[in-house]
Structure formats: structure tokens, C-alpha cells
């Protein structure tokens, strides 16, 4: 890729040569800054909390296990919580980016169109009938997420993907599955004990177990998404054009939808239903560096991770020791930023 771009830069007229290089450099700088943001958010989150730990002490207990309360706090509480927040943010942001592309709709995000609710419902269902097997939850959540996606496609298909119909179908499916979840919680409240995980979007008291549950899905999801960048770029040119160029449109759409479902479902399995990230992050990235999925996937992953980590940190420190739901903090942080970008 870089090779071909350099060639162009050399061949063309001066004006266009400068513009192209600026673009690429700009995008790389933005990604670099986002990476720094992630690192910064991670360290910041580890540094603050209800228990006050001075910075040098943090470094100490990171490397030496002296059994102190600080060591336990950093290793068992903050460290895994920050990692989990980062992975969840990454998953949801990438899922949103993919869904907005395959559904040709800028409002598509896992929660709005019901993919997260589908994941939640099936996850709760499996907890009701097979409560001992918590490791199965992400898999069933994935089945639920894919079911929701397929229902949406069936409802919205009319000679092709119609963006407006997709959103309407998605909202309907979301309402349906959410009602299902509420119903389950009411009628089977005595059996849904494992639904500790289906708190509405909370990282409270999460530890390494949840991190290792989501980690394989995050890694696989990220890798496959990066590898699908070119397919996505061609898909968003339009179904007819894409087919004409030689892309297997249906397969690509199904694959990328499944990928988004996998990412969203694994996130839902460990922290519950968390909206907003999948909608806001890809849009912000799009407004910053454009629609090329080769850059949008990694950039969204980074911004999503940073956003959730920061939001969660605020959520547990601003009214310490009371925690407020992460979703609210994210809305408060994210909405003004997004509105600002819209006005640009």
C-alpha cells in the first residue's frame, strides 16, 4: 500500500503530491495520538480510585508482591478493570464501524439495532437453563446476536439493503429482545442468579475472569476486522458496484456482520448492555480521518478503548465511593464531543 502511494506522489503534479502526503501523515498522526490517549487513560485509571495510592507506590506494587492492600487493589481490582474497559470499548467501537458499513446506515450500532439485546437475551437464557456453565455465555450470546442480525436483514430486505428500513427493523428487534430480557428477569428472577453480568453496562467488581473471557474474542475480532478492511472499503462503494468489481457481496456482508456480532456479544457477556460507544466512536473517527476502513478499524479500536477506560474511571471516582453507571458518564463525555465534530 505505501509503495503504491509513494509512486503516485512522485509522478504527479506538485500540488497533488503535497496533499496526498499530508493526508497519510495526518491519519498516522491521529492514530498515534489515539494510541497515546489509550496509554494515558490506562495509567490514569490505575492511578486514581477510592483508595489513594501514590504513584511511586503503584510502580512498586506492580513489580513486587508484598501482599499489601495496595498490591491487591492494583493487581486484582484496577489493572483488570482497566484492561477490561479497554477491550470492551475496542470491541464495541469496531462492531459499530463494521455495522455502519454493512448496513449502509450511519445510525447502526450494536445496541440501537438490537444486536446487543439479542446477545443479552440468549446469554440470560443459557444462564437460566444451564447455570453452571458460565463459559458458554459468550457463545450463546453470539448466537443471539446473529439471530437478531438475521431477523433485521430479513425484515429490511427489499431488493437490496435499504438503510432506513434497517434502522426501523433494528429498533423493533431491539425493543423485542429488550422486552424479552425484562420478562426473563421478572419471571425467572430466582434463577437468573448469574445475571450479575447483565447489569446495565457496568465494570463494577470485574476482575481477571472477565478479562480472559473476552480476550480471545477481542483478539480474533480485531485481527479479522483488520484483514477485512479492503473488503469493507469495496462494499461501501455500493452493492452493485462491489459485485461488479468482483466482491462476493453477500458473503462479505454476512461475514462482517458475524464479526460485529461476535465482538458485541463478547462485550455484552462480560459487562452487560453498554450503548453509545458503537455509535459515537466510528462517527468521530469518520469525521476526523475519513471512511477508509484500513485506518478506521484501528482508530476506532483505540478511541473506543480510551473512551470506555476514561468514562469508567470517572464513573467510580467522581462521587467516590458511590459508583455511577458508566453509560451515563459516556453520554456526558461523548455527546458534546460529537456535537462539536458535527458542527465542523
Amino acid at each position: 500500500m505505501a509503495r503504491s502511494m509513494n509512486k503516485t506522489g512522485d509522478q504527479n503534479v506538485e500540488g497533488s503530491q503535497v496533499a496526498l502526503r499530508d493526508r497519510l501523515a495526518y491519519r498516522l498522526i491521529v492514530i498515534g495520538l489515539l494510541f497515546l490517549a489509550v496509554v494515558g487513560a490506562f495509567f490514569y485509571g490505575n492511578a486514581v480510585g477510592t483508595i489513594k495510592i501514590p504513584f511511586n507506590r503503584i510502580l512498586e506494587v506492580l513489580f513486587f508482591d508484598d501482599g499489601s492492600m495496595e498490591r491487591l487493589t492494583i493487581w486484582n481490582i484496577r489493572f483488570p478493570r482497566m484492561i477490561l474497559g479497554g477491550l470492551v470499548g475496542m470491541n464495541l467501537a469496531i462492531a459499530g464501524a463494521l455495522l455502519q458499513g454493512v448496513m449502509s446506515n450511519p445510525l447502526a450500532d450494536p445496541s440501537i439495532i438490537g444486536i446487543s439485546s439479542g446477545a443479552g437475551l440468549f446469554g440470560i437464557f443459557i444462564l437460566v437453563i444451564m447455570p453452571q456453565h458460565m463459559a458458554l455465555v459468550p457463545i450463546f450470546a453470539f448466537v443471539g446476536a446473529m439471530s437478531a442480525a438475521i431477523i433485521i436483514y430479513i425484515l429490511a430486505w427489499k431488493g437490496g439493503i435499504q438503510p432506513t428500513r434497517i434502522i426501523l427493523a433494528g429498533v423493533a428487534v431491539s425493543a423485542l429482545f429488550s422486552a424479552g430480557i425484562s420478562g426473563m428477569l421478572v419471571f425467572y428472577s430466582d434463577r437468573v442468579h448469574g445475571a450479575l453480568t447483565f447489569m446495565n453496562g457496568s465494570l463494577s467488581a470485574r476482575s481477571w475472569g472477565e478479562v480472559f473471557t473476552i480476550l480471545p474474542y477481542s483478539v480474533i475480532g480485531l485481527l479479522l476486522s483488520l484483514m477485512s478492511s479492503t473488503h469493507m472499503n469495496i462494499l461501501i462503494l455500493g452493492d452493485d458496484v462491489a459485485r461488479g468489481l468482483g466482491l462476493e457481496v453477500e458473503k462479505t456482508r454476512m461475514f462482517c456482520t458475524a464479526l460485529a456480532a461476535l465482538l458485541a456479544a463478547s462485550a455484552v457477556s462480560v459487562v452487560g448492555l453498554l450503548g453509545f460507544v458503537g455509535l459515537i466512536v466510528p462517527h468521530s473517527i469518520r469525521l476526523l480521518i475519513g471512511n477508509d476502513y484500513r485506518f478506521m478499524i484501528p482508530a476506532s479500536a483505540l478511541l473506543g478503548a480510551a473512551l470506555v477506560m476514561l468514562s469508567d474511571t470517572f464513573a467510580r471516582t467522581v462521587f467516590s465511593p458511590t459508583e455511577i453507571p458508566v453509560g451515563i458518564v459516556m453520554a456526558v463525555l461523548g455527546a458534546p464531543f460529537f456535537l462539536y465534530l458535527l458542527r465542523r
Partner: protein
């Protein structure tokens, strides 16, 4: 030069109870220019979409060199047939060069970038369509004619034998319309690309094509060279107008001038 490379056999397309195409039989020979004309709703776009595999037949076949295109590998077909659709709305914000580079997708593995040969083709496509100076502009920042040329550049970067064009000039200014038609002619003459285009303007069809295919009521009404078609009553029956036919003295092609509406 006479064997048809793209053939259509008893092609019918229906959606629920609605008839979209009915028993279409056509043969396209290599190196020729074909224009498909007909009133709105006759099935022109649907035919193009079926030829480009965007619509599935309910009966009949479309064959590329004797092989059913719906059974062939997608990339293989893309290396032979390229399509320019009528509406190209996209959420992508690519610049022209990147768009044209996508044209090479069918020629390479998805994981590899463009090779030197690919880049040569891209440069050639840009130069042929006169877009080399606009290569770094975003699609959205181009005029109608420029944008159309960019899409054509992408199509020819695919290095196709057959280029399908669905109303390539309908929304363009007159000068841009002529530019596109001249470009299409050049591609046919210099590269030997078989052209199949749907045209709205009968005179463009008459002037720039070797054969006219008239569609009416979702079927092929008549085929023939421009003079045959214009001098007969075909267009009167199909378009319901009485017309004067004259001749372009320089080119020797017929000119169609509609005079009066014919009440049916």
C-alpha cells in the same frame, strides 16, 4: 470477430407476480458497440443489472463464452465484464486514484497490495479518461462529468472485455455527454472493448453504436443497425411519436427528430 462472447438465452426475471424481463434472447459480438433503448419501465436497467449479476434470473441463462455467469467465480467474471451503474451513491469518501485502484481488486489476492503492473493499469485508466490531474481529488468534489469519468476509469482499470454502461450520460451537461460518448467510442476502437450501453438519447444511440436493441414491455422488440431501426416504424410504435429522419452528412449516421405525439 464474429463469435458472440456474451449470450442471453430465454432470460426471464420476475419478482413476486411482477414481470420484469420476459424471454430475452441476445448475442453480443466481440468488439462491437450496442445501444439498448426503450421507454421507461421497459426493463433496460433490469437487463443491465442481470448482465452484471446484480439481479437473478427466474428462468434462462446469461453466458460468457458459453459458461453461465451465475455459476462462474465472481472475480473471474469481474476480470471480463465491468459495469457502470446509473446511480452511484456511496458513503465512501475516497479520492479518484484510490477508487480506480479498487478496479484492480479482481486481479489480485485480497491480502496483497497493488503490484507494479496494477499501478500501470491505474495510471493508464486515469490518462485514458483524462483524470490524471484530478487523481487526488475526492469524488464528492468533482463535477458530474468528472465523476462519471472517474467511475469509468475504475471500470476500465478492471481491464474488461465487455463494458456495460447504464445511462452513462443521462444527468450530464451536453458537453460532458459528448465527452463520455467520445471516450466510450475511443475505448471500443483503441482497446477493442465490447460496449453495451443503455441510452436515453436516441440520437446518441444512433450515432455511436453498431447495433440498436429496442426493448418494449419487458421484451426485445427489435434489433438492427441504426438505419434499419430508425427508418422503420419501430420507434413510432414503441415511443409513440412521429419523427422525421435525416442524416448527419459528415458521419453518415441517422438523426431522429420527434415531431408529433401519436395517439394510441
Amino acid at each position: 470477430m464474429d463469435q458472440p462472447i456474451l449470450t442471453v438465452h430465454h432470460l426471464s426475471v420476475a419478482f413476486r407476480d411482477r414481470r420484469i424481463l420476459h424471454d430475452i434472447n441476445l448475442a453480443f459480438e466481440k468488439g462491437k458497440v450496442y445501444a439498448i433503448i426503450g421507454p421507461n419501465g421497459c426493463g433496460k436497467t433490469s437487463l443491465m443489472r442481470t448482465l452484471s449479476r446484480n439481479l437473478k434470473p427466474s428462468a434462462g441463462e446469461v453466458k460468457l463464452r458459453g459458461k453461465n455467469i451465475f455459476r462462474l467465480n465472481t472475480k473471474y467474471v469481474a476480470r471480463h465484464i465491468a459495469i457502470l451503474s446509473q446511480f452511484n451513491y456511496t458513503m465512501s469518501d475516497v479520492n479518484v486514484r484510490t477508487l480506480v485502484q479498487y478496479g484492480r481488486f479482481a486481479h489480485r489476492k485480497w491480502w496483497s497490495g497493488n503490484s507494479a503492473e496494477d499501478e500501470e493499469k491505474v495510471d493508464w485508466a486515469l490518462t485514458t479518461t483524462g483524470m490524471q490531474d484530478l487523481a487526488n481529488r475526492k469524488l464528492a468534489n468533482l463535477s458530474g462529468g468528472e465523476r462519471q469519468r472517474a467511475w469509468i476509469a475504475m471500470s476500465i482499470a478492471q481491464d474488461p472485455e465487455i463494458l456495460l454502461l447504464d445511462e452513462p450520460t443521462t444527468f450530464l451537461d451536453i458537453s460532458h455527454q459528448l465527452e463520455i460518448m467520445e471516450l466510450v467510442t475511443k475505448l471500443n476502437r483503441e482497446q477493442g472493448i465490447t460496449i453495451v450501453m443503455v441510452l436515453h438519447d436516441i440520437n446518441h444511440a444512433a450515432r455511436y453504436s453498431d447495433e440498436l436493441i429496442v426493448l418494449h414491455d419487458q421484451s426485445v422488440f427489435r434489433r438492427g443497425n441504426p438505419w434499419e431501426i430508425l427508418e422503420s416504424n419501430v420507434l413510432e410504435d414503441v415511443f409513440r411519436v412521429q419523427a422525421d429522419i435525416s442524416i448527419d452528412k459528415e458521419l453518415g449516421t441517422p438523426i431522429f427528430y420527434a415531431k408529433k405525439v401519436v395517439k394510441s
